[in-house]
Symmetry: none
Subunit: 254 residues, 2 copies
Amino acid sequence: MGEAILKRERVRDHLLELIETHPAGAPIPAERVLCQQLSVSRPTVRSAVEELVNTGLLVRQHGRGTFVARAKITQEMVSGTGSMSLPQASGTWSSRVLEHARIPAGARVGRRLHLSPAAEIHYIARLRLVDGEPMALEYLHVPAAVAPSLTLHDMESGDFYERLREHGVHVSEAVQSIEPTVTNESEASLLGVPELAPALLFERLTTDSEGRQVEYVHSIYRGDRYRIVSKLTLGDQPRSTVDVQAKIGNSNPF
Amino acid sequence: MGEAILKRERVRDHLLELIETHPAGAPIPAERVLCQQLSVSRPTVRSAVEELVNTGLLVRQHGRGTFVARAKITQEMVSGTGSMSLPQASGTWSSRVLEHARIPAGARVGRRLHLSPAAEIHYIARLRLVDGEPMALEYLHVPAAVAPSLTLHDMESGDFYERLREHGVHVSEAVQSIEPTVTNESEASLLGVPELAPALLFERLTTDSEGRQVEYVHSIYRGDRYRIVSKLTLGDQPRSTVDVQAKIGNSNPF
DNA sequence: CCTGAGAAGTGGTCTATGCCACTTTCTACC
DNA sequence: GGTAGAAAGTGGCATAGACCACTTCTCAGG
């Protein structure tokens, strides 16, 4: 039916207005006051407030009040992620290209790839799926100077490093970081999970045998479908295996 | 300061039991049914369910039901190889014991340690700090049958596996999983971060040379201070190193 | 046999209300 | 004047109930 506007959202938007127009640390009206002002019940107000507390925009203090949070900068630091080198899991992988272009690196990517912000790169954003189910978002950046003739098809290929080798690039090592994060609105939408759902943020910087940065990948993996499993041998040999495994699951109810 | 047990938490714990004992994809009882079973109101049930949905353990489907989302059963899969270390970071580690006792394993822990829920275990919960700053919460469980004379001091010891060996337990290997999560209220409070902040959930199950499960460790690492960094060698040598590094930066919650 | 309408069951939203716990403020007592 | 205690205001927890939206199953009608 029509876009039945939820009261909770109306209240939330009202609160967002308050947050925008009030300095950090300023108190917002008491819950019971908001009820009257907006003609809704207290649980509805509480629900809206809770949402904003969860996203870090408001801070509640028992017995004192609710206040505009001080730092929204927390979200800023999260910039890049990388996909696991061999993120294989049972199931059939596929991917859907969301965006691809040859563009200037920009400040952020340029810094990681040791390029000037104006240097051109191959860029591709894609949604990776397992058995048709969204699994991860992957953003791949390759300096155009490294492989000028690289095609979209090359980048889409499952065996990307093979293609790179064909272009004369010999990958030697990669540094990868993994950290926990939560999905933002667009990520949540693309991955089909709720906003603020736990996720893994991978970031990988790959270097070739000549020491050049050849790719920068960052990706967001669904936290409800992935875990990293490692088998540790504490004995003589410090060798162990590390896998990224798909959690078997919830997509197809038998 | 009596530990007034919140109904919401009671319901949540009940749901956690269900999640542990049911396969992924299995439906949990309808909300109205849970109300009757646990003698609480529906908003209370919904609140508890919502918490678990937010952390990715349950999935709600309008008109169909609520289902177990996590898949715990994961095997097979070998992709990359590398060595992974236990969480460590530069800086001075210290720890503060929050709780310790000799208690029945309970359903959840018992299942992981292959024990009956009534079997006794050594349990210790501690806050781990780096340079005096809260870094992680660690919950350690060791079957009493494995090391009956284990003391608190043994478990507090930095060289825990040495102590185990003195008790005749020879650790051979461990399986560790890492997944993203978000902090709940008590975790947030203890770690000094906002609720629902990104965090890493480590789970480690250690086995001795006789195949017995000797410890189950469950820990929550602050997502704003930790990342996992691995150096991958994609060439001939399938060896790589993995470290958990403290992120440099602010520790200010606001 | 197939189809479609309805019933039943599920989660989704919202209301109205009560009491508790914590914080701050003000007041009355010493 | 100083201090203990009451009062008021705040968020926190929980209840009971109503109605809506979506899904699935059943069964009567074609």
